[in-house]
Structure formats: C-alpha cells, structure tokens
Symmetry: C2
Subunit: 468 residues, 2 copies
C-alpha cells in the first residue's frame, strides 16, 4: 500500500481506490507487491493479478466496499484462505479482490444450543480448537484446515473425510449473513435446526462459489466432542466385498470415515508414510475405517464385533486395529500421505469425481481403457471417500502439454455420465472445470443456474469467471 | 368428469380443458363434484374450488400440461396428499389444480447405494414399506405418513419426530426432477451424496412450497433398517435439567427422538392415551427418549448407562424403559395422543414455532404474560421436538372469532424475535402465515426471496397465493 507500489501498479480506478480507503482505512487495502505476492493457488505459485486487495474489518465496511464497487461497475473476486484447487480465487488485472481475512472473530459459542456464530475469515482449525475447549466439535475435516476459512468452505461446500457421518459443510451450517453484488445485506443468522419460514436462504449461498455474493458470517452447528476413537486398517480381495463391507459399516452409529485406497495408492504411499504398511500388501483394496464415539466399552464392543464378523464372513483378508492414538494417527498418515504421490507421480493430473457406488470399479475400468491406447504409459493412483461416492484419481503420463492434460480430462469426464457420475464431488468448478460442467449438466439445470445468477448478480460483478 | 358435472361447474377455459384432456385422456381430469368434494385441509372440510383437477400420469404429461397452462396464462395450484395444515393446497375458482396422485411408482431401490428413485405421488408410508422389505429405512416420520406424499414433503421440507438424528426431508433427498411454471423440465436426479458440480438445485426446490415449480420425482437417501428399539419415558423437575439431559442424550449415537411434553400436555393426554401414565404426574416436564440402533448388547448398554447416570446426577425424577415393542408403541401413543387435546381444548389455535433452546421457557413465559390480560381464560398445551428447537403450542380461549384468533397469533409471534425464534418450524407458511412472515423476515431476506421467485416463475402462475 506504499505510494511507491501504487506508482508501479496503480489501482484500477483512483477515485474508487480513494473511496474504498476512506471506508477501510489504509491498512484495509493492499496494492503493488503486497497484493501480487499472494498466491491464488495452494499447489503452484500464481500471483494475484488484481491491482488491489480490499480487506474490510467488519460487515459494515464489507457492505460499503461492495456498494462502491457496484457503483463503479467494478468486477470483484472473493478470497478466503486461497486453498481451493479449482482456480476460484484467481483474479485478473482489472479485478478488485475482496479478502475476508480481517473478519476473523468467533463471536459466540453457545454450549446449550451447540452452536457458534463465526465470521467468515476464521480458519477451520481455529474454529475447531475454540469449540473443543467447550467440549464441542465442528466435524468438517480437511487437510487444509489450518488455512481454509469458514467463508471459503461455505462458498465451496467443502467436504473432507467425515462426510459419511456428519455431511458436507452444508449440513453443518444453520444460518448465514451475506452481501449481494449490489451491496444488499442479507441477514439470515438463525440458530434454529428447524425453520420452514420461507426459502432457506443459506442453501442458496452454500456451494455457490461466491457467485451470488460474499458470505460474511455464519452460525455453525456443533456436536458433542467425541471421547472415543477407533481406527482399523483392512485389506479386501474384491470390489463386491468392499461394497458389502461398507453396507455393514453403515450399521455402526459411530462410523466417521470409510476411506478406500486402491493397491496403486497403497503400494506407493504406505512404505513411504510408515516404515511398514499396517497390513500386508498384495490385495486390490485397503480401507481405513474410523469410529468416533462417546462410550468406551460399548464403542469398542461394536467396532470389534463388526470387524470380527466381517473377517468371519471373509469380507476382509487382513485387519489391524490401532492400539493407541499414536497408531490412529499413523494409519491416517497412510491415507493422507501425499508426499510419495507428489514425488513419484509429478507432474500428475488430479481428479475429484463422484460415481454411483456400485459402478465405481466399472467406471475406473472404462477410464483405464479410454486412456490405454493414446497414453499407454499412463499410471494411476486411486483413493477416495467411497461412502460419499467420491473418488480421487491421480493420473500421470510424464511431462505433458496443456493440450494433453485437457485431452486426459476429456477422457476421464466423458466416461462419467454412463455411471451416474459428476466431474467434481467436493473441489468445485471454479475456473478450471467450467467447460466440462457445461457439457455434463442437463439443459434444465443450466437454465435454472443461469436464472439464479442473473437474479442475484445481474451485472455479473462477483466472481465473474467462476463456475459458468 | 361426467358431462353433467361439467354443465354445473364448467372448466375455466374450454379450449385449455380440451387441450389438457388431449394430453392426459379423460381419466386424467376431474371436474364438478369429483373435484369440489376433495378437501384441501386435513383438519376441516374445505372444498377444492378450482374447476379442474389435472392428474398427469407421467413426467411427459406433467410437462405438457404445465406448458399448456403457461400458454393460457392459467394459474395453477399443486396438490400432494393434502395433509398440510398451512393452506398450501387451497385453490380459487379460477385455478387449475395439478395433482401428482397418478405418479405414484417407486421406480428403483438400490441396496448397494442405499437410494431409491421415487415418483412424487408415492406416500411416505408406501415408500417406507417398500424399502423396509429390502432391509432399508426412510427416516422421515410423520403422523400423516399414510397420506402425505414424497412430493408434498419435499415441497414443504417436512420434519417430524426423528429430525434430531436424520434431519428434515432436505437431508434425505439426493436428487430431484421438477417442472418450472413455464414447462421447463429440470432433471437433476443424481444419486450422489457428494456433488459440487454447480449449484445444488435440489435445495432450491425443497421447502419452496411449490412456488418455483412442481417436483415430479426424487432420489431419496436411505439408511440401514434399525434392528434395536429403546424408548424411555422420564419426568424432569426443571427446564435447566431438560437442557442438560438433552446435551447428554446427544452423546448417544443411537438417539432418534427427544420429545418433550409440558405438564399441561401430560396431565391432559396421558390418562387418555393409557389407563395409567408411564411415570407419576406432578413434574413440570416429561420426555420420551428413543434410540434406534443395530447392536442389541451395545445399544442396551449405552441407553441404560445414559439413564442411570442421568438419574444419579438427579437430572430426572423418574424414568421407565419400555420392556417390549408393545410398550414402546404405548409410550409413543402418549406423545402422539391428540384425541384428548381435540376433545378438551377445541376450538384451539395451533402453533409450530421454533425457539433457541436455552430460551424456550423464557419465550413461553413471555407468551403467557402477553395473553393473561386480554385472555385470562386462556389454556395451553405444550410439547415439541426440543432438540430441533421446535415447540408445538395449542391455545384455547373457548369459542372465538377470527379476529380473536388473529390477535392471539399476533401475540404469540410478536414474542419470537427476542428469543431468536421463527413462526414455523416444520408446517410452512402456506396461505395462513404470509402476513406474519412478512413482519419477521429481514429486508435482505425478503429481497432475495422476491428475486428467486421472479426468476423461476416471473408470471406467478404456480401457487400464486402461497408464501408471499
């Protein structure tokens, strides 16, 4: 924000800049290298091209800044923790970035109603730590939780590892406050679980990737902090048995994760994450099964009974239960150990598809078949949240051009409709998947989406390059 | 649909009538007394005033009928099972009613993915029975389930007794198909739990009370059929203890209902529903606590441990656990025994408010205080799904005018904003609560609702008198 910076990288409109600074104070605006040095992508350094990053300190400043931008017909890009991998935070030189980073207070935690009122710029980890101190738990669990913000996870309807028990971000939000692209404040901050008083507006904003407005605050729903933790690591001989095991696991009320790793994943990651993998190699599937509960004796009983019955029914080849919290963490390190993938597979193309559960293996076969002729050298790494239909797939063909990457994406996505699939389960469309979404949505869906966006942001001022 | 009927009650537009019959066949259209004899209200006989009830047999007929109505600028009212108590199914003489009753097939039940594809006219009970035969469970539990249809419960986001565990209808729907007011077919029938591919359109239609279009089909999410069932009936000496007991009950992963009855309810209903109430009278609160699980030994252990600890902590005065499935049903009959209320309290005014949990008792005091001067004779009956914030309140002042009823409604609703409340938790706005909603929503909320409706049904042809 120094004058020097402004000289080298002048804000788009000096009158707008002046009026914004009058609202936020000079510390509320970043320009020059203070702005450009911020990467918009967690995986590769991507400078912020927008000439100005505005950081309102509260909801009043936010609404006034957005009203000003609207009056100047100024395109805006909204940024949370910039951990998204779909390009949703990317900006152009003629954008103004609005960052919620200074709106980072947890305003209230109510133990009796198990709710909290939280500003959009609070990180998921900060929220989790604060509510944990009160015996409560915010169940959204993401690798990027130290940086990802509540606002960003609401805009993208973030998922993660525990969706099978507690749902996506959508299921954990009770109320919302947002500012539309013209500065209209929409306050819908109820703490009520049940409320059929008109349209449920939070669901409009959740998962809209910032295309309707900027989420400024939310009421989150909390659950009692679990006091028991069980993790098993098992190997399975066929996909049919994986599906049967999932059906049985769903009868565990404490089930909190069912993470499937294909052998291409396990053989690459396990030796790297642990000196010795939790179970013997040589099987096609490995699964991390987690339970989080509240009663040591009963939870241990049902978790062990489930595993014993599954072994007796020959649904599993091998199973080991973590004997300590340390070992629970070790098992999770296998599931989350991406270092070996980055090291051995780079450059790779990452996918986040959803497929109907019974069709997952058929879908993967179709993908491998589609790729084998044009790319015989293709290597895969496959894992996912199977109970949520979500398969993460990494594909490498060695160093490749952008056209090759695009061609591989086309092949991977083209196989989806046959299996009831979707091109993104949790990462969202952002800027990167727009073209593919257009191909896969029905005409009615596209018509409704177009009408909704036109109703909320007719001038397309907010996140104009995002989604469609 | 006989010619005689048509003579006495001619359809609104004979050309439209002719074209609709050409689409649906004569059996697809009811007129005259076949139409008028259908009540739009489950509580009092309210004839269908619309001259014509159209009953499409499939999605193609539905879309064509709606397109025809749109071309003739013909207002439409959508009807499901007509069990709603907010007047959402009421029609005027110049309306055409569209009934989904002939679209009543369960098209598919998939055990592996625990989903079903269901037409809108299927009743909740028929759906539950069909999936139960496959070892699955659709957890929405309503008194009117024998008549209420899936489409109607989607339009109203129906709740019921087990929201605390499985959420409202919204949380149990994966995909939706609908027809907009201009006939546009919106097919978004995915079976995926996780799908962030663009806006999640099902959430637009769920709870919109038919103001965006007609839901024709849905994919429902199922859970494994529970195999254990525990019901306790307890009495509690103070509201603080009720809240503390609820917090402990939330640590039961098998908790499926936490139904609070105030002494005004218990003293009226219990002697009527059972020869002897489950627990001794004389306490201010009575609670039915239910667990549904999958492991006899473990579930019984945690349910009993929970009760023993609550007794030892003096959170409860008395507690009895149902010793048989028959006794489980008996305890539920106390909770659902409305005959005594109808007999002793009629005419009464029924409320379905939501209030922040810690404020429930303060809210009820405020209501009693507001009513005691103008209506010293007022009597109350109070019960609800406390974990969901939902309090059902019946008030009688004896025979009264419409103005008195309206005045009492004003007083009951006026106290809500102070306690973070809402005028309807699960019944919806319909035609009856429009004026009150207008008073209680923020200006930003009203603006967004207005824009959404204008985008989906600019001519306001569908359910024009509903919601706002």
């Amino acid at each position: 924000m120094a004058d020097d910076d402004m000289t080298t990288s002048p804000p788009l409109n000096s009158e707008l800049y002046k009026q914004i600074v009058a609202v936020t104070g000079p510390s509320g605006v970043l320009t020059g290298t203070d702005a450009s040095s911020r990467s918009c992508d967690p995986l590769c350094i991507t400078p912020t091209l927008a000439g100005m990053i505005v950081r309102p300190a509260d909801i009043e400043q936010l609404a006034r800044v957005i009203s000003l931008c609207a009056r100047f017909n100024q395109p805006m890009v909204v940024q949370g923790g910039r951990t998204g991998v779909a390009g949703g935070a990317y900006s152009e030189p003629d954008d103004v970035v609005i960052s919620l980073e200074r709106m980072n207070k947890i305003e209230d935690i109510c133990v009796a109603s198990q709710t909290a009122v939280v500003q959009a710029g609070v990180t998921i980890e900060a929220l989790q730590n604060a509510v944990q101190a009160q015996g409560l738990f915010y169940p959204i669990d993401l690798g990027s939780k130290g940086t990802a913000t509540l606002g960003g996870t609401i805009a993208t309807n973030a998922g993660g590892n525990r969706v099978i028990r507690w749902g996506m971000t959508r299921q954990n939000i009770l109320g919302i406050e947002a500012v539309l692209a013209d500065g209209t404040l929409v306050s819908s901050l109820g703490r009520l679980l049940k409320n059929n008083t008109g349209y449920d507006l939070k669901h409009l904003f959740i998962g809209s990737e910032g295309t309707f407005g900027v989420v400024s605050r939310a009421v989150v729903k909390l659950v009692p902090l679990p006091s028991t933790h069980y993790v098993a690591f098992v190997s399975v001989a066929s996909f049919d048995k994986v599906v049967a095991l999932l059906a049985r696991a769903r009868r565990l009320p404490i089930l909190s994760a069912f993470e499937v790793m294909w052998s291409d994943f396990y053989s690459l990651v396990a030796p790297d994450a642990l000196s010795k993998g939790p179970v013997a190699p040589g099987q096609p599937y490995y699964i991390l099964i987690e339970g989080l509960g509240y009663n040591e004796t009963a939870d241990q009983m049902i978790f062990n009974e489930f595993l014993e019955e599954a072994l007796a029914s020959e649904l599993m080849v091998d199973a080991v239960v973590a004997a300590s919290e340390k070992q629970c963490q070790d098992f999770w390190r296998v599931r989350e150990g991406t270092e070996a993938i980055v090291r051995e597979m780079s450059p790779f193309i990452a996918f986040d598809v959803s497929v109907e559960i019974p069709c997952v293996e058929a879908y993967l076969s179709a993908v491998r078949e589609a790729l084998c002729t044009p790319y015989p050298e293709a290597r895969f790494v496959t894992f996912g949240h199977l109970g949520d239909n979500n398969i993460h797939l990494g594909i490498t063909v060695g160093p490749h051009t952008h056209d090759v990457a695009h061609h591989i994406e086309q092949l991977v996505y083209a196989a989806l409709p046959r299996f009831g699939g979707a091109i993104t389960a949790e990462h969202g469309i952002g800027q990167f998947k727009k073209a593919f979404m257009k191909e896969q949505k029905s005409s009615g869906e596209k018509e409704v989406m177009r009408r909704m966006r036109a109703a909320m942001d007719p001038a397309r001022l907010i996140n104009r390059e995002v989604m469609f």
